[in-house]
């Protein structure tokens, strides 16, 4: 018990003293997940709009499939990305396996269903009369879509934040396609996994606390947004 207590104290000391290693790992995690979230958002927002505003065969099924992929196991996406980027794989030529780029791409794939699905339901939550009103006031299809997204802005933002939350907290994918290389692809989650297995609890705890604080901040922001 004292061991755990000592670990916690050391962990807090590492955080408040801005320990370079802890800060580097946390910064890298944030940067990778922010990048993957931005890329996923740039793809999902327009795609969700296209899916929402068009009638086509199998739309319901497509949305069901997207929703099913909300809980895609991170290791499954990791395996897929690994095969994709491995030297024998179709994108092996890019040589990005075991680089931060691989993690970014993998995370973007992982969180796209969540962002896409939640954005579609955010848009569905907007009164259909909003679209009619916009069209009747002379909006083009693009302008109509834009004003609808604007009406759903808080729910859409929540969808994007949910995606970021999943990206920063996943471990399996980062481990598989990043390789947990110190100072290069080591993120908060992979570092925690490694340090814990090594029995080096101080660093693991420090990073764990940071991850929880990030999760807490995300939740507070999300709550604020949803209350509007």
């Amino acid at each position: 018990m004292t061991e755990l207590w000592d670990g916690l104290v050391t962990a807090l000391r590492l955080i408040v003293s801005f320990d370079p290693e802890v800060m580097a790992i946390a910064g890298r995690s944030l940067a990778i997940s922010a990048t993957s979230s931005t890329i996923a958002a740039l793809i999902c927002l327009p795609l969700a709009t296209v899916i929402h505003f068009n009638k086509f065969r199998g739309k319901r099924t497509l949305i069901n499939v997207i929703q099913t992929m909300f809980s895609l196991p991170t290791v499954a996406v990791g395996l897929f990305a690994f095969v994709l980027f491995s030297s024998a794989g179709p994108l092996g030529g890019l040589g990005i396996l075991f680089t931060p780029v691989a993690i970014v791409v993998g995370q973007a794939l992982l969180i796209s269903p969540i962002m896409l699905g939640l954005t579609i339901s955010a848009l569905s939550g907007v009164d259909k009369t909003i679209a009619d009103t916009a069209v009747s006031l002379g909006a083009s299809r693009f302008q109509m879509a834009f004003v609808t997204i604007r009406e759903a802005r808080f729910a859409v933002l929540a969808a994007l934040i949910m995606g970021f939350g999943r990206a920063i907290s996943e471990v399996g994918l980062s481990m598989m396609v990043g390789g947990n290389i110190a100072g290069y692809t080591r993120t908060i989650t992979t570092a925690i996994a490694l340090e814990t297995s090594k029995g080096d609890l101080e660093l693991a705890l420090a990073l764990g606390i940071i991850l929880i604080v990030i999760a807490l901040i995300i939740n507070i922001v999300l709550n604020r947004i949803q209350q509007r």
Partner: protein, 360 residues
């Protein structure tokens, strides 16, 4: 050439006809009211005219262009119109930004935009709400923002769907004032749907009566009011007395209609033997305690079956071989000391009877 011409347009929702064979011409600058009960197809017709939906069949020409055939011209045509929906919604932004939307979508900016928005705010009496979030407004205020938003773009055609439904009388008056102002300016063609007959009368130059997805009759408010074309229209416009009978005699234009044995004199072209409805507006029936020697040809003796007040008036049902409804002022009801079972003479002129053919 009329500004809007529809040729036998129809619409189906889920295989059900909601609109059938509507042919209608609307001239530039006129005020046209669609009246009819809920579910008659008024909203659907407006949505088709505003190009929010495409008709299942038939064609619509706007300013001479067939917009049902020319997909690419639809946005251009739609930008010359504005539509205030039945339950208007406002965008989650300030009143000012709501009103500016249509103009911004037309790439209007700078002082010109400001001026147009300010004018619309002024006209609808919403100037002091400009900075408020539109979502915080009451129903009447929301309706005024919706109208301001529509007129800010200076549309050639303004469509209004039940602009005062579900509003209190004060808000209704305010909205009607705004509409009367727009109409008086004469720059805008107005097409409005209403289930309120008197609103149609007050505002419109022509009225179209819709029932069950069909446009049954088009005419001036006076025409529709006094000479409805069929029984449903008559019922809707407040003709309380719809008496079924047969023409039994004719003397030049003057015919005698047998209604349950009672003889009603009326003016009609229908031949002897024709099965008809005799339509008499209740306000054209006068009541008296004694038989008077007026020129009115139809006087019936009867007893009062029922009376009930409607506002400042009293509606009286007289049993005189057939039920006959009359409307008198409260004052004359008191003077006549109207009471149930009291003996009374009901009188109406032959010219007050509108005769229509009975189809069933």
């Amino acid at each position: 050439m009329a500004l809007i011409e529809t040729d036998n347009i129809g619409q189906k929702y889920g295989g059900q006809d909601v609109l059938k064979d509507v042919s209608l011409n609307i001239e530039a600058g006129e005020v046209f009211a669609l009246i009819g009960p809920t579910g008659a197809g008024k909203t659907t017709l407006l949505r088709l005219l505003d190009l929010l939906e495409m008709p299942a069949n038939g064609s619509i020409r706007f300013d001479g262009i067939d917009i049902t055939a020319n997909k690419s011209l639809r946005l251009q045509a739609r930008r010359r119109m504005a539509f205030v929906l039945q339950k208007p919604v406002v965008f989650n932004m300030s009143v000012y930004d709501n009103i500016a939307c249509g103009l911004k979508w037309r790439k209007e900016k700078g002082p010109a935009l400001h001026q147009r928005v300010d004018q619309a705010l002024e006209l609808t009496g919403m100037a002091h709400y400009a900075k408020r979030n539109a979502r915080t407004l009451s129903g009447g205020e929301t309706q005024r923002v919706a109208i301001a938003r529509a007129i800010a773009i200076a549309p050639e055609v303004l469509f209004l769907d039940e602009p005062t439904a579900n509003l209190d009388p004060v808000s209704t008056n305010k909205i009607e004032e705004v509409l009367a102002h727009i109409i008086a300016e004469g720059k805008t063609t107005v097409v409005m749907a209403t289930h309120n007959m008197s609103q149609g009368q007050r505002l419109a130059g022509r009225i179209g009566v819709m029932m069950n997805g069909r446009l049954l009759q088009i005419g001036s408010p006076g025409d529709i009011f006094s000479t409805p074309g069929d029984k449903e229209v008559a019922e809707f416009v407040g003709v309380d007395n719809i008496l079924s009978g047969v023409i039994v005699n004719r003397d030049d234009e003057l015919v005698t209609i047998d209604v349950n044995g009672a003889h009603i004199q009326a003016i009609s072209d229908y031949p002897i033997g024709a099965e008809v409805h005799a339509l008499i507006r209740p306000e054209d029936v006068t009541l008296a305690l004694h038989k008077d020697a007026s020129s009115a040809r139809n006087t019936f003796e009867g007893s009062i079956a029922k009376t009930f007040p409607i506002g400042a008036l009293v509606r009286v049902e007289v049993a005189c071989g057939f039920p006959l409804f009359a409307v008198v002022t409260k004052r004359s009801a008191e003077d006549l000391e109207l009471a149930v079972n009291k003996k009374i003479y009901a009188t109406f002129k032959a010219t007050a009877v509108h005769v229509i053919k009975r189809w069933n």
